[in-house]
């Protein structure tokens, strides 16, 4: 088993074996990242392939000081952003069924109630712009100002898209929860 350090050195020399090892070790994690930014697995795999090409050919850019997995994630996220921009003109813009009113009591979502498949699914169903902002802010932890720069949008747009994304997600999750509890109740 090669260490990350050896894999990186191997990849820098374009060694096929090191490239394969890097893929075997991190492709599953990176596909998990890509799928958050895509509408389906096929699109996520496209992003993943492009990410690996960037990783292989730019591995010298990795300074070696920060976390390697963090660098990999960053490349994948940047690739997803490029992909989003490239496909922007092909997407149909889906307007949200106007504002989902925030008439909730405190609905807390228990962590284990939803499977990660279900969470991926609601993310995949979001309009692309909402999905980008939500992922970058909530999961990757970027600031709205940074997101605005990355996506080439206004800071306020980033903020409002984030809050709309949340409203849609909350609505979808609540529906999903009702459905799930009805099903489990019906089965018992």
């Amino acid at each position: 088993m090669m260490s990350d350090q050896q894999i990186i050195e191997g990849c820098a020399k374009h060694e096929r074996r090191a490239q394969q090892l890097l893929y075997d070790k991190y492709s599953r994690f990176l596909l998990g990242v890509c799928l958050r930014y895509a509408t389906d697995k096929a699109e996520a795999e496209d992003i993943l392939q492009d990410s690996f090409l960037k990783i292989y050919f730019n591995i010298k850019d990795y300074s070696g000081t920060g976390s390697f997995i963090g660098w990999l994630r960053k490349v994948a996220v940047n690739t997803a952003i490029t992909h989003y921009h490239k496909n922007l003109k092909f997407r149909y813009h889906i307007e949200i069924e106007e504002f989902v009113s925030v008439e909730t009591g405190v609905t807390s979502f228990e962590e284990d109630f939803f499977t990660s498949d279900e969470l991926y699914k609601v993310l995949n169903e979001l309009p692309a712009g909402y999905r980008m902002v939500f992922n970058l802010y909530a999961v990757e932890g970027y600031k709205h100002k940074e997101i605005a720069e990355m996506l080439g949008i206004d800071t306020n747009t980033s903020k409002s898209q984030y809050s709309r994304a949340k409203a849609v997600l909350r609505d979808k999750l609540e529906k999903l929860r009702t459905l799930k509890s009805r099903y489990s109740a019906g089965n018992e």
Binding site: S27, R28, L31, L53, V106, F109, V139, L169, R170
Partner: protein, 440 residues
């Protein structure tokens, strides 16, 4: 405050569950990726990594080039039964060449450029070289070398004076104001009609080879090229026993193919928006005529017709060279067709049974299972559960199933339907299918 806390929880939920989630990629992804890596590395040429692959690629490229070069005269010789030597018959050779010397070889190279602007051929120069160590007949070897910009053709200019009694290697350049082929066009769309004219003046005979196995012996022939391709048109003329050859290339562009489809197949007008699906090939511009007086130049337009009618929908597909093709669907939305079509899924209204009567306006969200139809008279629809229990029956085509059975919303899942009935003029119909009940 409350809201803020809740938001945090929502974001944290996704962060905690998905931040380090792993998904296994499709098995084929790895090999596809490695292929792309290989391609990319190959294209990034690095002298320090020259290996067998580069050598192989260079060899392959060389072979391909050689093949291309040797193919072009081969092609031509298939069309022209014999090589085209410049022959000098005995009398003229004796008249012009000193008998003490062997007969010189005369290689005449003509550089000609095709001026695209006026589609005429402008001739630039003809060079004549002689070499006394070879036989008198010159093969048309230089026909083999054709560059994209200029064609080199063996020719014997009628005005050339072979003032070469010494017979030593000598290159003579003469300017010729005109080639002896004039073509009405140099390129165009198939079928391309081209009028050729021989400018060789008065000659004993003309032989035209059109490059598509066609032949003519008239002086000014007209030829039609049916298929796309680059055709080398060669003219041989005999004048006082001297054979002269000239050629010109005519470029016939590929023709696009116009092809489209219309959905929905059974449109309900004016309710349905009609989508036009474009399957054209080799085109870059499109022009639609919907047949009701409206047009579009989109790739795949949508259109709303106001009423049924015998519309002729036409698509013109235009290629980058301006070649066009068109397809017409005649009588696209005539009202005479009777039909009945059912959806395959619906989402009942969860708040309670609605009774099942619908109109296109009241059932925009498909809460009632019902057909779209035209010309239906008698009608019986029955819906069964998977266990075979009859859960719905209707004898009115305007009365569909709301998803309830005995006041209870049915479980999501698949149900079987069967319909029988009559069309106004087309006789009986019977159809069976399944419907998936979804929950909102």
């Amino acid at each position: 405050m409350e809201d803020l806390r809740e938001d945090r929880m929502l974001s944290d939920l996704f962060k905690q569950k998905l931040e380090n989630e792993e998904i296994t990629p499709s098995p084929s992804l790895s090999s596809n990726l490695m292929r792309r890596v290989g391609m990319r590395e190959f294209l990034r040429f690095n002298p320090s990594r020259i290996n067998i692959w580069y050598a192989g690629a260079a060899a392959a490229a060389g072979t391909a080039l050689t093949l291309i070069l040797t193919q072009s005269p081969g092609k031509q010789s298939r069309e022209i039964p014999e090589p085209l030597p410049v022959e000098i018959n005995k009398e003229s050779a004796e008249n012009t060449v000193n008998k003490n010397l062997s007969v010189p070889v005369i290689t005449i190279t003509e550089n000609r450029q095709v001026a695209k602007s006026d589609n005429r051929i402008v001739d630039t120069e003809v060079s004549v070289s002689t070499d006394d160590n070879k036989p008198a007949a010159v093969s048309s070897g230089s026909n083999a070398v054709q560059s994209a910009e200029a064609q080199k053709v063996n020719t014997l200019p009628t005005t050339a004076v072979l003032n070469d009694a010494t017979g030593k290697n000598k290159l003579i350049s003469i300017n010729r104001p005109q080639s002896f082929i004039e073509a009405s066009v140099a390129e165009g769309c198939p079928p391309l009609k081209v009028s050729f004219r021989s400018l060789a003046g008065s000659v004993d005979s003309c032989s035209w080879y059109f490059g598509d196995a066609g032949y003519s012996s008239s002086k000014d022939p007209v030829w039609i090229f049916d298929n796309a391709g680059d055709y080398t048109i060669t003219l041989q003329v005999f004048s006082s026993g001297v054979k002269s050859v000239s050629s010109v290339v005519i470029n016939v562009h590929p023709k696009p193919l116009a092809k489209f489809d219309i959905t929905p197949e059974y449109a309900v007008l004016p309710r349905d928006e009609i989508s036009f699906h474009n399957y054209s090939e080799g085109a870059e511009k499109y022009f639609w005529n919907f047949g009701d007086g409206t047009t579009s130049d989109l790739f795949e337009p949508h259109h709303n017709y106001r009423k049924y009618g015998d519309y002729n929908v036409r698509l013109n597909a235009i290629s980058e060279f301006g070649c066009s093709d068109s397809l017409v669907i005649y009588n696209a939305f005539s009202s005479s067709g009777n039909y009945i079509e059912f959806p395959n899924a619906f989402i009942p209204n969860p708040t309670g049974p609605s009774g099942g009567y619908f109109s296109p306006k009241s059932d925009e969200s498909s809460q009632i299972f019902h057909p779209v139809f035209s010309g239906v008279t008698d009608y019986q629809l029955r819906i069964f559960s998977k266990r075979g229990i009859l859960i719905f029956e209707s004898n009115d085509v305007n009365y569909g199933w709301d998803g309830y059975y005995k006041g209870q919303l049915c479980d999501p899942g698949v149900y079987i339907w069967k319909v029988r009935g009559n069309f106004i003029n087309n006789g009986q119909f019977t159809k069976v299918g399944d419907i998936t009940l979804l929950k909102n």
